[in-house]
Symmetry: C2
Subunit: 258 residues, 2 copies
């Protein structure tokens, strides 16, 4: 199978750097093809702007989604964006690996999402009517592909627990796992999270590496997070609120998981 690792850390000699190298080797040793988008090494342009389309004429009013649609449909996207989209298309599974900075992905990776996720590729896909609200949240152009987060944090596991002060890690990752990965169609596997990175000695590192290795070995047979499909009958359309008899009386991110 083909695996794309999108990776964001500025220092190759970091825990993240080591784990990324480990993942590449583990997957290749198992017979998979691997490509890595090492965003810092690529000097990835983070800011979405008018320059992302070679069609944009200076002086025109820039509408991000309209410009993205036009450029995507007409082969007028900047080359770095088109190259990443080709990797996405090639991949059977995508791993996003990053340190949690201020409770989300690093800016450089957010910029990868914003620029690579073109209108027509990741959003604005499919029929929008009274019966359907586009092919998204369980349908879309990357349906059938798998995705997984590999995330490191400086804080303790308890700080990210259900009653921990930072908020539960699953909720912090929901905008990424549900909003960025499930939205265009990925099957999203449970995340691999390493906490308290400053206290990882050699013994602990071996444990972490082995646990990650096991997750990679099971990339194809791990059950995805059972998010609810938008057009599967659980939601009112076009309000897109859960029907009253689904998770009755409950609210929040958790209700979107079966």
């Amino acid at each position: 199978m083909n695996v794309l690792i999108v990776y964001a850390h500025p220092e190759p000699r970091s825990l993240n750097g080591s784990l990324k190298e480990f993942s590449v080797k583990r997957l290749r040793d198992a017979g998979h093809a691997v490509q890595v988008s090492d965003l810092y090494a690529m000097n990835w342009k983070a800011a979405l702007d008018a320059g992302d389309s070679v069609a944009h004429t200076t002086g025109d009013r820039f509408d991000p989604s309209r410009a993205s649609k036009y450029a995507f449909e007409n082969g007028l996207q900047s080359a770095d964006i088109a190259a990443e989209q080709a990797k996405l298309k090639w991949a059977d599974a995508v791993i996003l690996q990053f340190p949690l900075w201020w409770f989300s992905m690093p800016a450089i990776m957010k910029g990868w999402v914003e620029r690579v996720y073109a209108y027509g590729l990741a959003y604005g896909v499919g029929e929008h009517s009274d019966a359907r609200w586009g092919d998204r949240y369980g349908e879309g152009n990357v349906a059938g592909k798998r995705a997984m987060l590999v995330v490191t944090t400086g804080g303790w596991e308890s700080h990210y627990s259900p009653r921990g002060i930072n908020g539960p890690i699953d909720d912090l990752l929901f905008p990424i796992q549900h909003g960025i990965l499930y939205y265009p169609g990925f099957d999203v596997l449970p995340p691999f999270v390493v906490h308290r990175t400053s206290r990882i000695d050699e013994q602990k590192y071996v444990e972490v590496r082995n646990a990650l290795g096991e997750r990679l070995d099971n990339l194809w047979n791990t059950a995805p997070i059972p998010f609810r499909a938008q057009n599967g009958g659980d939601y009112r359309i076009p309000e897109l609120t859960l029907k009253d008899d689904i998770a009755p009386g409950r609210e929040g991110f958790g209700v979107h998981v079966k």
Copy 2:
């Protein structure tokens, strides 16, 4: 009073651009001093890297927080970072204004947070012991200042409602309001959110502008979101989980609001 508006939109002739201009005028007309950090216009560098410290020697292993601490303490930060920190220090209130892209702030603004929020300024502040876990979440260097989000979305309000498919807007903004604003000490006001931006005609625009104007007029007397202070007795230290008798039996982001 002094107000800093940190603003991220690539097109001045956008709804966001108009609302930003409106805010500047409204605040100045009320006698306040206003500075704007227009991140796209400034061509703000989004990616945190070794170049953020003029002390970094090529070839050294780059540790983001250690490098940030050293540069901040020794006046060795890059000039763009120091300039934004001076604005933060000057401000009595900070407004972050942005379009919600993929359920969070644009990459260029995330990069403002990552680079301007130095170790010693926004984190790594205060005593870390069995009794205290730093000055954060309600204490810290920006304590006494106010902050507010001004956010636009393309989706409908119902899509962001408590049972809406995107997740409740308050939960989507929690990593920013609690994790980025409350953490270093800001009093965080309820956000000003504009939904379904593609359907804003002239009449609706006047309504939005008036509502925003009212929020700006009341910037100094609006009650902040009552997040729980980390060192106020509600949390076990150092686990930083809520004590059993606080919001008993409940979990998730909501338990951190009184």
